[in-house]
C-alpha cells in the first residue's frame, strides 16, 4: 500500500515538474515592450554597405546605413544625406549639397569628407584598392572631391544618366574600414550584435536626423530555417513581421492577429531559355513556347492570382520605361504555337530539361505548371531540382543548362533590368545576343534627355519581345504578415525592410 502511495507521489510530482516547465516555456508578455522581431529565411552575412550584394543582407543594413539619396516604398528616389543635386548637361558631373546636422552612430558629425571617402571607397579609388570598384555600378566614377563651399563633386569617366540610383550607396565615416564587424552609419538604427545563424539585433539611434523617427527601441532580425519554421514562430508570437509569404500560407493566418500586406515586387520571373542550346536557338521554337503557355493559369497556381502577367523583360511597375503596347503579344494560342513548331521542324515536339532551384517553391511550382502546359505542343519537359549553390554555379555562372525558372531582382534602375541582355554582360545567362540591342544599350547612358532615353528602352524591349529571348511569366506580389500590435510597416517593391516607420499600435 505504502509503495503505491510513494509511487503515485513520485509520478505526480514528476508530472507537476514537467507542467511547470512547460508553462515556463509559454508566451512572454510582449505588448508593453517597444520592439519588433522580423523573421528572415536567409542567413545574414555581410554588413559592409559597399561589398553587400545579397538581397537578404541589404534588407537589414537598409536600417543602418543611408546614402545621398534613398528610395521610398513607392519607388521614388528622394534626397537623404544630400539635400540637392546638380547634374551637368552631359550627365558626367554630379554635384551634391550635403545635409547638415547629421551624426554617425559613433557620435561624429557627417562632413563632406566622409561622403568623399565613402564614394571613393565604393568606386575603388582609395589607395590599395587597385581600382576595383566595390559597388560595380560606380566603376565609372573618375573622381570625387569636396568643393570649397562644402558641396561634393562626382566626376564620371563619361556621361551616364543612369548612375543616380547608385548614389543610394551607404555613407560611412572617413577612414573607417571595419563595417563588417562593427557597422557605423547614419541610419535610424544602430548595429548592436550579430549572432551567427540566429539573429541580428539593431537598437534605436537616438540622434537620428529625422526628428521623431524611429519609434521602436529594438529590432531583431531572427533567422528561421525556412518559411514553415517561420510561420510556426509567427503563430506562437515570437516573430512579429514575416515577409515573402506564399499566398496559400498567408491565407492560413489568423487575420485578427496579423495584417496581411502586399505590394508589387518589381521582380521579373522568367522561364529562361538558353539561346545557345538546340532547339532553343531557333526563334520559332522560343516563340512557340511563348504562345503555348498560359500566364494567368501559372499565376493562379503559384501565387493564387497575386501576380502581374509579364510579356517581356520588364515589369509594368517600372512606369514609363515599360511599353504597354507590348501587352498581349504572347497571349496563349496553341494552334499558332503548333504551326511555329512545325515550321521549325519539330512537329513531334522534343525533350528538354528544366533545372530549377529547390530553394524557391514558387519557381519549382511554376516549372511543374509549365511542364504540363508545354505537353500541348509536344514538348516533354523534365524537371531537375538542384540546391541554390549548384544553381548559381552551373546555371547562372556556368550557363550549362537548357531551361530554368528564376526571378530576376531589380532596383528601380531600368538599365539594371535590361543590361543583362547585352552580349558580353556577366548576367546574360540566357546567352542572348543581338547587335542591335548592344548598340542601343551602349547609347542609353550617353543620352541625357529623359524622353529620348525612354524611347530607347522601348526599342530594346520591342526587340527582346520580337526575339522571344525567353518566356516571361509574372511579377509576383510580395506578401508580408505583420502582427496587429504593430503599424506603419510598408512593403517595398525591392529588398528592403524599413523599420523606421514601424510603431506599436496605441489604443
Amino acid at each position: 500500500m505504502n509503495k503505491y502511495i510513494l509511487k503515485s507521489v513520485t509520478v505526480l510530482s514528476a508530472a507537476g515538474l514537467i507542467f511547470t516547465v512547460l508553462a515556463g516555456c509559454g508566451k512572454k508578455p510582449a505588448d508593453e515592450n517597444n520592439y519588433a522581431v522580423v523573421g528572415i529565411t536567409q542567413e545574414p552575412g555581410i554588413f559592409d554597405p559597399h561589398t553587400v550584394v545579397a538581397a537578404g543582407d541589404e534588407e537589414i543594413i537598409y536600417n543602418i546605413y543611408e546614402g545621398l539619396y534613398k528610395f521610398d516604398y513607392e519607388g521614388n528616389l528622394n534626397p537623404c544625406l544630400a539635400t540637392d543635386v546638380e547634374i551637368s548637361d552631359d550627365a558626367s558631373v554630379y554635384t551634391f549639397t550635403i545635409r547638415k546636422g547629421v551624426k554617425f552612430h559613433d557620435g561624429s558629425d557627417l562632413d563632406p569628407i566622409d561622403v568623399v571617402y565613402s564614394l571613393k571607397r565604393a568606386a575603388g579609388l582609395i589607395d590599395g584598392q587597385n581600382g576595383v570598384a566595390l559597388v560595380s555600378e560606380l566603376d565609372s566614377v573618375k573622381d570625387v572631391e569636396e568643393l570649397s563651399d562644402g558641396k561634393v563633386k562626382v566626376t564620371l569617366e563619361e556621361g551616364n544618366s543612369e548612375v543616380m540610383s547608385y548614389f543610394t550607396t551607404g555613407i560611412i565615416p572617413e577612414g573607417y574600414d571595419n563595417c563588417q564587424a562593427a557597422p557605423v552609419g547614419t541610419g535610424p538604427f544602430k548595429f548592436d550584435s550579430y549572432n551567427p545563424g540566429q539573429s541580428v539585433i539593431l537598437v534605436k539611434n537616438d540622434k537620428y536626423w529625422q526628428k521623431g523617427l524611429p519609434y521602436l527601441d529594438k529590432v531583431t532580425f531572427k533567422v528561421c530555417a525556412d518559411m514553415d519554421a517561420g510561420l510556426t514562430e509567427l503563430s506562437s508570437g515570437s516573430i512579429d513581421i514575416f515577409p515573402y509569404l506564399t499566398s496559400d500560407r498567408a491565407a492560413q493566418l489568423d487575420t485578427s492577429r496579423y495584417n496581411i500586406l502586399s505590394n508589387g515586387s518589381n521582380m521579373v520571373q522568367v522561364f529562361a531559355l538558353n539561346n545557345k542550346v538546340e532547339p532553343l536557338n531557333d526563334v520559332r521554337v522560343r516563340k512557340a513556347i511563348n504562345y503555348a503557355i498560359n500566364r494567368k493559369d501559372i499565376i493562379s497556381v503559384t501565387m493564387d492570382g497575386n501576380g502581374v502577367e509579364l510579356v517581356t523583360a520588364m515589369s509594368p511597375a517600372m512606369g514609363s520605361y515599360y511599353d504597354p503596347s507590348l501587352n498581349g503579344t504572347y497571349d496563349q494560342d496553341i494552334s499558332k504555337a503548333k504551326e511555329l513548331m512545325a515550321e521549325a521542324g519539330y512537329e513531334n515536339g522534343f525533350d528538354i530539361t528544366c533545372t530549377v532551384t529547390s530553394s524557391y517553391l514558387i519557381h519549382v511550382n511554376t516549372a511543374v505548371e509549365l511542364a504540363s502546359e508545354l505537353k500541348a505542343i509536344g514538348i516533354n519537359m523534365q524537371i531537375q531540382q538542384v540546391d541554390w549553390a549548384t544553381w548559381l554555379d552551373t546555371v547562372y555562372t556556368g550557363r550549362d543548362y537548357e531551361t530554368t525558372v528564376i526571378a530576376l531582382t531589380s532596383t528601380y534602375a531600368p538599365y539594371d533590368v535590361l543590361g543583362r541582355y547585352q552580349t558580353s554582360d556577366g548576367g546574360n545567362f540566357i546567352n542572348y545576343s543581338n547587335s542591335e540591342v548592344d548598340e542601343l544599350m551602349a547609347k542609353i547612358p550617353l543620352t541625357t534627355d529623359v524622353a529620348e532615353r525612354t524611347e530607347l528602352y522601348h526599342q530594346v524591349l520591342a526587340i527582346l519581345t520580337e526575339d522571344a529571348c525567353s518566356a516571361y511569366i509574372q511579377d509576383p506580389t510580395t506578401i508580408t504578415a505583420v502582427s496587429t500590435r504593430l503599424e506603419g510597416y510598408h512593403v517595398y517593391p525591392m529588398y528592403v525592410q524599413d523599420m523606421s516607420t514601424v510603431k506599436l499600435v496605441t489604443n
Binding site: 516547465v21 555581410i46 551567427p196 510556426t232 528564376i406 556577366g426
Partner: protein, 317 residues
C-alpha cells in the same frame, strides 16, 4: 589472449583511422559537388570581379586539396579554422550550438530509459497478455514513425490543438535554465519516440529470455522474490548486453536531433550543418562532420571498452 592494454591501443588506432576516413569522405564529396562559396554569399547580382575579390579574400583561389591539407594540419593543433560564411572560428560556432544538440540528446536518452525500462519490465511480466500486446503494437507503430514526422505531429497537437507551449522560442541555458529544458522537452520527445520503441522491444525480449534461464529458477527455488530476482539478476544480465544498444541509440538520437532541430527551428548543430552545406562553407562543414563523427566513434569506443570490461569474453572474440 589479448591484454587490456593492447586491446585499448588497437581500438584507439581504429578510432583515428575512422576519423581520417570520415574527413577524407567529406573532402571527396566536397570536391565533387558544384557550387562556389563566394558566389553563394554574394548572390546572382554580383559581378564576376566582385566574386573574384571575395574569393581571394577568403583564400578560395587555392585548390581544394591544399585547403584540405591545411585544415588537417590545423586539426592537429586543435584549430579547425575559420568559417567562410560567418567569418568566425569553427570551434566557437560549434560550441555555441552544442547546448541545443547535447541538451536534446541527453533529455531524449533519459526519456528513453525512463519510459522503455519500466514498460519492458511490466510487459515482460506476463508476455502475451493484453497489456503486453498493446505495448508491442504501439511500439511497432512508434518504431515506424521517423522523428521529423513525429515532430510535425507533436507541434500540431501541442501548439495548434491544445496551445500548451510555444514552439521554436529557444531560450539559452545561461538565460534561464528551466525554460531552456522546457523548450527542449518536446523536440527531445520527438527524437526519443522511435528509440523508446526500439529499446522497449530489445529489453522486453532480453528480459523474457533471461527469465527462462536456469539461474532464475535456482534463485526462485532459494525463495527470492520476483522483484529481487529482476533487479539483482535479470536486469544486470540484460543490461550488460544492452550497453551496445544504448550507444547505438545515443548516436541515432544525435543524428535524429539534427533533423528535429530544423523542424522546431532550434539553433543547434543540425541547422549549422545545413547552412554550411548550402553555403558551401568547407571549413565549417568538415568541422561539424568531424565533430559528429568523433562523438559517434567515441561513443562506440567507450561502449566497446565498457562492455569488454563488464564481460571479458568480448575481448576474446
Amino acid at each position: 589472449m589479448q591484454s587490456k592494454a593492447s586491446y585499448l591501443i588497437g581500438k584507439t588506432v581504429e578510432l583515428i583511422l575512422t576519423l581520417l576516413v570520415v574527413s577524407l569522405l567529406v573532402f571527396a564529396a566536397f570536391s565533387v559537388i558544384p557550387g562556389d562559396t563566394a558566389r553563394v554569399m554574394l548572390g546572382p547580382d554580383a559581378t564576376e570581379s566582385q566574386v573574384e575579390l571575395l574569393r581571394a579574400e577568403l583564400g578560395l583561389d587555392k585548390p581544394l586539396a591544399a585547403r584540405y591539407l591545411s585544415w588537417l594540419l590545423g586539426l592537429l593543433t586543435f584549430n579547425p579554422g575559420k568559417s567562410y560564411a560567418y567569418n568566425v572560428s569553427v570551434s566557437g560556432l560549434i560550441a555555441q550550438r552544442l547546448p541545443v544538440t547535447i541538451g536534446m540528446s541527453i533529455i531524449a536518452m533519459i526519456m528513453v530509459i525512463l519510459i522503455s525500462y519500466p514498460l519492458a519490465v511490466l510487459s515482460s511480466r506476463k508476455p502475451g497478455r493484453l497489456g503486453d500486446q498493446i505495448c508491442s503494437v504501439i511500439g511497432h507503430v512508434l518504431f515506424a514513425i521517423p522523428p521529423y514526422v513525429a515532430s510535425l505531429l507533436l507541434i500540431l497537437l501541442t501548439s495548434s490543438v491544445f496551445s500548451l507551449l510555444t514552439v521554436g522560442n529557444y531560450v539559452s541555458p545561461s538565460e534561464d535554465f528551466f525554460e531552456y529544458i522546457g523548450c527542449l522537452l518536446l523536440p527531445s520527445f520527438a527524437v526519443a519516440l522511435p528509440k523508446i520503441a526500439m529499446s522497449f522491444k530489445f529489453l522486453r525480449s532480453s528480459i523474457i529470455e533471461q527469465k527462462s534461464a536456469d539461474y532464475v529458477r535456482t534463485a526462485k527455488s532459494h525463495g527470492m522474490s520476483d522483484l529481487k530476482i529482476l533487479i539483482r539478476h535479470v536486469l544486470p544480465n540484460s543490461n550488460v548486453s544492452s550497453i551496445t544498444i544504448i550507444s547505438i541509440i545515443l548516436s541515432d538520437i544525435l543524428g535524429g536531433s539534427l533533423i528535429v532541430e530544423q523542424v522546431f527551428n532550434l539553433p543547434g548543430l543540425g541547422r549549422l550543418l545545413l547552412s554550411a552545406i548550402s553555403r558551401r562553407d568547407f571549413p565549417l562543414l568538415s568541422g561539424i562532420v568531424f565533430y559528429l563523427a568523433l562523438v559517434t566513434v567515441l561513443l562506440y569506443f567507450i561502449s566497446d571498452i565498457a562492455a569488454s570490461f563488464a564481460d571479458p569474453r568480448i575481448r576474446l572474440k
